[in-house]
């Protein structure tokens, strides 16, 4: 019986290792059934449809340009949850050693976030953000060809106070779901 257990454990471990190859996808699927979290997935097909969206706004054009080379987006977002910090830490340790390079890490009291990237031939192919506070937890991943400058400039281009906007977005998302 010991051997059977051993075999099963080995099998599961093997499968686990397989699944961990794409840490975020795994994370994403593990939160799929959790109603406390907002899950957003946008595929490359959908991104290709964005080009058809007509906007008269200059800012929108800017934005469309910034996302033109993106191939995917995944978001797990939970506000007013419990154990956000624990989830944050566990997410960080899940991602560790999966080929991500730390880009920046901010620990500011109850607001912690970390940016990580995957690079290939000097092009950033994946941008991962993990953010956590006591009552919130967010994971966001961008796939494709990522232009950090364009993305960082988005917030200022939109001429919106960064923090206010963030609050508005968070509130809006809760309403929307």
């Amino acid at each position: 019986m010991k051997k059977i257990g051993l075999i099963i454990i080995t099998l599961l471990a093997g499968l686990g290792a397989n699944a961990q190859e794409d840490a975020v996808s795994k994370y994403f699927s593990s939160y799929l059934d959790d109603e406390n979290f907002t899950k957003v997935s946008v595929t490359s097909r959908m991104f290709s449809l964005f080009t058809d969206i007509e906007t008269g706004d200059e800012n929108e054009e800017e934005f469309l340009e910034a996302i033109s080379k993106l191939k995917g987006l995944k978001v797990i977002s939970g506000d007013s949850i419990t154990g956000g910090m624990a989830k944050y830490r566990s997410a960080l340790s899940t991602v560790k050693g999966k080929g991500y390079e730390e880009l920046m890490s901010v620990r500011d009291g109850n607001d912690n976030f970390e940016f990580m990237i995957k690079e290939k031939d000097k092009i950033i192919t994946e941008l991962l953000m993990i953010a956590g506070a006591d009552d919130s937890f967010h994971v966001m991943t961008l796939y494709g060809e990522i232009d950090l400058k364009k993305i960082t400039s988005l917030a200022s281009k939109m001429k919106i106070d960064a923090l206010d906007h963030l609050r508005k977005l968070d509130g809006h998302k809760e309403d929307g779901n």
Binding site: M1, K3, I4, I7, I8, L11, L12, L15, S25, K26, F28, S29, L32, V40, S41, V42, T43, R45, M46, F47, L49, F50, I53, F63, A66, I67, L70, L73, V75, E101, L103, M104, V106, D108, F113, F115, K122, I124, L127, M129, A131, H138, L142, D147, L148, K149, K150, I151, T152, S153, L154, A155, S156, M158, A162, L163, H165, L166, L169, K173
Partner: protein
């Protein structure tokens, strides 16, 4: 028996040079005689006489045999093990099958699926997400700049900025 002769024989005995006959003679002698000055040797040889009658009794054979038979039982259990191996193979086969079958309909499908059917909604969601990312990134940059710590991470951002600035101009 002369004391001298006895002493000589004993000395020979302790050197392990006595013949079997001499040893038997010593045993017999101490069994029947009490010789002064040789009380210790006398005790020893009496003990030898006593224990020489001890043989392995029948239960020894039984014990050994039962142990050998136990080994047989182990062999049987090994054969059982082969059976359980088959069981293990079947069980693991089922596990693998369920996991493989489940995945296409489960997580990977969900991973692939778009959350939104409408590009407009997806666009808005993407915008929101990018705004959060952008805002946080700006905050992180501001914080590092304020601190004046040119960490490796910040340098990376700066590098990227530089490259894109070049290509833009």
């Amino acid at each position: 028996m002369e004391q001298k002769e006895l002493k000589y024989l004993l000395e020979k005995y302790w050197k392990a040079e006595t013949t079997l006959e001499e040893e038997r003679f010593l045993k017999d002698f101490f069994a029947s005689n009490l010789s002064q000055g040789f009380e210790k040797e006398s005790e020893l040889f009496k003990y030898f006489n006593k224990t020489s009658n001890d043989f392995l009794n029948k239960s020894f054979d039984e014990k050994i045999l039962s142990r050998i038979e136990k080994k047989d039982v182990k062999v049987i259990s090994l054969q059982r093990f082969l059976v359980s191996w088959k069981a293990a193979a079947v069980v693991s086969g089922i596990i693998v099958a369920t996991l493989v079958l489940k995945n296409p309909f489960g997580s990977s499908n969900a991973e692939m699926a778009d959350t939104f059917d409408n590009p407009k909604d997806a666009y808005e969601a993407t915008k929101e997400a990018l705004m959060i990312i952008s805002t946080k990134m700006n905050r992180g940059r501001e914080a590092t700049m304020k601190l004046g710590q040119f960490s490796e991470a910040q340098e990376k951002v700066a590098d990227v900025d530089f490259e894109t600035a070049d290509t833009n101009n």
